[in-house]
């Protein structure tokens, strides 16, 4: 299966020291995992020169060098697709006062462009907005409306056009990857296979910034039988 991974998810997995679990997960499931070259720049090459982030960046660099993740060089095709996605996504929602709401950025649009060009079936992304835009634009509208305390208008034609660009793309987060790795008994390269370890790993991903609630983690943990 082909899948694209966003910077945020790579950073969550490296900062929680779960790169071995991640590596086993990708190998075991024969996932061809792709990242854009700008993700590589953002998650590896730039932070390598910053002592505060260099260790995380080095962990991700190792995943690139060992071909767990494949870096896709920027091409004119990607750039053109990225621009199309960026323009469309940022024209869907608007307010009377502020006009069109620019909600996503070039990096996220590039991940979506690569998913489309390479026919990827999954996008691993930890942040909430891009995921909601694909999965549930109505939810995103509610969030925007409630948080900004403004009436949000939706350009339905553009929304349909955007959704039609990704008919098969499924979205996942680092917590989903960790949970599945646990269910496949792939923790043993880093941790013991136990409920405590799973809960700790999921909470660690949450505190690293993955968009998941405590309730969601607790409910999932309740369904897991201890070994």
């Amino acid at each position: 299966m082909k899948a694209v991974i966003d910077t945020g998810t790579m950073i969550t997995l490296s900062s929680t020291c779960l790169m071995n679990v991640f590596r086993e997960f990708v190998k075991y499931n024969h996932i061809e995992l792709l990242v854009s070259s700008s993700v590589a720049e953002e998650s590896v090459w730039r932070p390598l020169s910053n002592k505060r982030f260099a260790l995380n960046a080095a962990r991700i660099k190792y995943a690139f060098n060992t071909k767990i993740v494949n870096v896709i060089p920027t091409s004119s095709e990607i750039q053109s697709e990225q621009q199309k996605i960026l323009t469309l996504a940022n024209e869907i929602y608007s307010t009377e006062k502020g006009g069109q709401l620019k909600i996503i950025q070039a990096g996220e649009a590039e991940a979506l462009a690569i998913a489309r060009i390479h026919n990827a079936h999954a996008l691993f992304i930890d942040e909430r907005t891009t995921r909601s835009l694909i999965e549930n634009p109505a939810r995103l509208r509610n969030v925007l409306e409630r948080r900004q305390d403004e009436k949000i208008m939706v350009d339905e034609e553009k929304l349909i056009e955007f959704k039609e660009m990704f008919p098969q793309l499924k979205m996942f987060r680092s917590v989903d990857l960790i949970a599945m790795a646990y269910e496949q008994d792939l923790f043993n390269h880093e941790l013991e296979h136990g409920k405590l370890e799973l809960e700790a790993a999921l909470y660690s991903a949450k505190f690293a910034g993955c968009a998941v609630s405590e309730n969601e983690i607790d409910n999932y943990i309740k369904t897991i039988h201890s070994k």
Partner: protein, 185 residues
């Protein structure tokens, strides 16, 4: 009605001069909300500045320093030049003048601060998290305020933001979907 940059700048200047710290924080939050709505980078930067000034005013080791009076005057003077360019609606010079204010804030921090990470950098991350809470993507929120995306992600993880908006699909549902995808291959 959305207020002009000159109006906002004057407000920030007056509130800072009069040590009205809670109002400085309030105007910062409003500026970030409007910046998120309008993708207005100037307002976002002013919002971050207002937040940083509020933080500085609440720190006793800053305001009790013998250097504080001169430093505060320097910042107010930079805000005044900024106000003039905003009034003339000269956006380029306005942004340039804002940078002078930022340099003033960073100078206070480097001379009187105790931490490696500056108050201004922390303010960028704090206010970027606010922009993220308004519905912008993480990267867009970081870009708008100039915050580091990695720091923003870590900061957001320690807030209750993701607990407030339940996901449509929970972990169990997504794991099931992921199993289906890899099994289909």
């Amino acid at each position: 009605m959305v207020k002009t940059l000159a109006f906002d700048l004057n407000e920030v200047m007056v509130l800072f001069r009069d040590k009205r710290v809670f109002e400085l924080r309030g105007i910062s939050n409003r500026l970030i909300r409007e910046a998120a709505m309008e993708s207005n980078y100037g307002k976002a930067e002013l919002g971050v500045i207002a937040y940083a000034l509020h933080k500085i005013e609440t720190k006793q080791h800053f305001v009790r320093s013998p250097k504080w009076g001169d430093m505060k005057r320097t910042i107010i003077s930079a805000l005044e030049s900024c106000f003039i360019s905003a009034k003339k609606e000269d956006y380029a010079i306005f942004l340039e003048s804002l940078k002078k204010v930022v340099r003033g804030i960073n100078q206070i921090d480097s001379e009187l601060g105790n931490y490696a990470q500056t108050i201004y950098d922390k303010s960028k991350v704090k206010q970027a998290s606010l922009a993220y809470s308004y519905g912008l993507s993480l990267a867009q929120a970081a870009d708008l305020t100039g915050a580091d995306k990695k720091e923003l992600q870590g900061y957001v993880g320690f807030t209750t933001m993701h607990d407030e908006e339940p996901e449509v699909k929970d972990i169990a549902v997504r794991v099931k979907e992921l199993f289906a995808l890899v099994d289909a291959d």
